[in-house]
């Protein structure tokens, strides 16, 4: 991770950690920023449709129609106006946090460049939509927004006459301008929605709806806020006077005092440079890309589990090319693969029990192959042999620094993601008595760096998703810990408590009928 991002990531880790104490893991707002953005977008859309019924686009009528909603129909249209305002603010807040968090996590580089790049126009469209909305109210704030916006646009040599001249005096302003603005206010969010669709094209199983509990909480908050502090206008616009003191919506209009007071060439250059920089950072500096996953056709039976589990859509199934009687074969797109190893974790041939041939699964990542994980397991098992209540910890590289938990009784084996760990490894450790128990330590709950790794791990270990952990593995000898990067102390405590429990269980005595060979061993046959 670039050193500049470390403090930012620490801030987000801290916020996640704090919020996880009061919210259930699935509801943590910090882990649902994108979904919350969609939620606010729908509220803005629904309330906007209602408000539009009562809105009049005339110069003289716009302000009066908004006042009617706020004062005469405060319980319905007024509420909708407030919801429209506050949900728009909520949208900007979660959108900016979403951008910052993805940036802090390094989710703007490598294969994620597409989502990052397509997010930039969404950011612009949301701002244009919000600013044009403030314009429509035609109060003193709208007057300020209209004049500063048009004066800023007039720095571009593209208009026949200064657009700001439309606001020189009341007599020069035409209702047609409001028709144009309402068109923009409706069209721009629709365009943003289309770009959002593009934005999600390379995200497998995107979460676009927040959990119901979080949606309920956020929605209720908006309603309460709308009643407690309704959005109100700031007096009718009067072009013969300066707006004077105005309450700015700093979420949308925070840059306006700068646009107003700094030289136009400077603000335009800064804005364009900032946008270009945002667009370029996925490639600044060039990223060292880990080697993509490799398919070994001799071991691939075309089961398609890797394709189903890949969070990046990097795997496709194609027609079998080696003539063997399977339906298809996996093909990896190296441009989309981040080498998280979740595909190897899903592969039924990635079992550590294999001894007849080399441990080469149907799909694997070259820089951290399953065979290396098995070698590390055996080395750590040998190191802690003879100790009591021995534990092997499979630790995700993006979770807590589990290396610090290594001791005479605790062995630690690194995996790229918990999803890289085939469940058979837990069986291998316990059945072969390499340790008395297994801990799988990953990112904080619901916050998997690779989005789906922890989810698949839980499902596989629970026996709800292939490849399933075998029933013969006593579940009390397995512990999943979602500790996160700041959760080292918690991980230590969990390991200590787990070891105490193991001590109570005593050594594991596998029930293994001698006449039946385990199916894992048959794979090589």
């Amino acid at each position: 991770m670039p050193p500049l991002l470390a403090p930012l990531r620490a801030v987000f880790d801290f916020a996640e950690n704090v919020l996880s104490r009061v919210f259930p893991p699935a509801w943590n707002p910090m882990l649902n920023l994108g979904a919350l953005g969609f939620f606010f977008y729908w509220i803005v859309t629904a309330s906007g449709v209602y408000v539009y019924i009562f809105f009049d686009t005339g110069v003289a009528q716009a302000f009066a129609s908004v006042e009617y909603m706020t004062n005469d129909q405060w319980y319905a249209a007024g509420l909708m106006r407030s919801l429209h305002r506050y949900a728009s603010d909520g949208l900007v807040i979660v959108m900016l946090l979403h951008i910052l968090r993805e940036f802090a996590l390094g989710h703007y580089r490598g294969v994620r460049w597409f989502s990052w790049l397509t997010g930039i126009p969404v950011l612009l469209f949301v701002y244009v939509a919000g600013i044009s909305g403030y314009w429509l109210v035609w109060d003193r704030l709208a007057q300020y927004v209209a004049i500063v916006s048009t004066e800023w646009l007039d720095h571009l040599p593209i208009f026949g006459q200064p657009v700001a001249r439309n606001f020189l005096a009341p007599a020069l302003l035409e209702s047609r301008f409001f028709t144009l603005m309402i068109f923009m206010h409706i069209a721009v969010p629709l365009i943003a929605l289309m770009v959002l669709w593009l934005h999600l094209q390379r995200v497998a199983r995107p979460r676009i709806n927040p959990p119901r509990g979080l949606a309920l909480g956020a929605g209720l908050t908006l309603v309460v806020l709308s009643f407690a502090a309704p959005a109100v206008s700031q007096g009718p616009a009067d072009l013969s006077r300066l707006p004077g003191a105005i309450g700015l919506d700093w979420f949308y209009l925070g840059a306006y005092p700068l646009l107003e007071n700094l030289p136009g060439p400077l603000t335009w250059t800064s804005a364009v440079t900032a946008l270009l920089f945002m667009a370029a950072i996925p490639w600044l500096p060039p990223m060292r890309k880990p080697a993509a996953a490799i398919v070994d056709l001799a071991n691939c039976n075309g089961c398609a589990r890797c394709m189903a589990d890949c969070p990046y859509g990097a795997i496709a199934m194609t027609v079998r090319s080696d003539g063997r009687p399977f339906e298809g074969e996996a093909v990896v797109d190296p441009d989309l693969c981040v080498a998280c190893g979740i595909c190897a974790g899903s592969c039924p041939t990635a079992t550590p029990f294999r001894r007849v041939a080399d441990l080469v699964p149907g799909i694997d990542v070259p820089e951290r192959p399953v065979a290396a994980i098995r070698a590390d397991v055996e080395a750590e098992a040998a190191r802690i042999a003879g100790a009591s209540s021995r534990v092997i910890v499979f630790a995700c590289r993006n979770g807590a620094a589990a290396r610090a938990c290594r001791s005479a009784e605790v062995g630690v084996v690194a995996v790229n993601c918990t999803g890289q760990l085939p469940p058979a490894f837990a069986d291998y450790v316990v059945s072969r008595r390499l340790a008395d128990g297994v801990v799988v330590a990953g990112c904080a709950e619901n916050s998997c760096y690779n989005r789906l790794g922890a989810r698949w791990t839980e499902a596989r270990m629970e026996g709800a998703r292939d490849p399933r952990l075998r029933a013969r593995v006593p579940r009390e000898r397995l512990k999943l810990v979602w500790a996160g990067r700041l959760g080292l102390a918690g991980l230590r405590a969990e390991i200590a408590a787990f070891r105490q429990r193991l001590a109570g269980l005593g050594p594991h005595r596998p029930q293994r009928p001698a006449a039946i060979r385990p199916p894992e061993e048959r794979i090589d046959a």
Binding site: V22, F23, L168, A169, T221, L239, G244, L248, W250
Partner: protein, 167 residues
């Protein structure tokens, strides 16, 4: 008990976010101009005179033109730059030569400037030259005005209406 505490924590988080959202949606209040000030805004769009007079085409020139495009006179497209000055209480606030717009320099010159002045009585003077003359001005304005606090006095220029006018 734990779930009640967590629920209370959630209420606190929602409340804090709501409070921050409300506060920053209208606060802190921004003052576009200090108290006791008014604004004078000078803006217009006006084309200066053509840089050369129209002249009659010669018989030879007419003969060279296609029959559908023959006209008796030809005029230069390019316009002269416009000189404009604005003074308040004798102090010169704006003194510019505005070039015509367009690639052929045949478009109108544009002005859009604004100045903050203390509220109260002021003598506003403006001058504009849009002809080929080198000295002096073709239009002048000299008027005493009483500006209220935060008043926005817009000065426009429309030659057909006699020159400078207050909006």
């Amino acid at each position: 008990m734990l779930s009640i505490l967590r629920l209370l924590g959630q209420v606190l988080v929602y409340g804090a976010v709501a409070l921050a959202t409300w506060w920053f949606s209208v606060n802190p209040v921004y003052r576009q101009a200090p108290a006791g000030m008014a604004q004078i805004k000078l803006s217009f769009k006006h084309g200066g005179a053509r840089i050369a007079d129209c002249r009659r085409l010669t018989t030879e020139e007419l003969a060279r033109l296609p029959s559908a495009e023959r006209r008796p006179t030809t005029c230069a497209r390019e316009r002269v730059a416009i000189a404009v000055r604005l003074a308040v209480d004798g102090e010169l606030l704006y003194d510019e030569t505005l070039e015509p717009t367009g690639i052929a320099r045949d478009g109108a010159a544009r002005a859009y400037v604004k100045f903050l002045v203390p509220a109260g009585p002021h003598l506003v003077e403006a001058w504009l030259r849009d002809s080929k003359r080198a000295e002096g001005y073709d239009y002048t304005l000299r008027r005493e005005v009483m500006l209220e606090e935060w008043q926005n006095l817009a000065i426009d220029f429309i030659a057909e209406q006699g020159g400078f006018l207050f909006r």
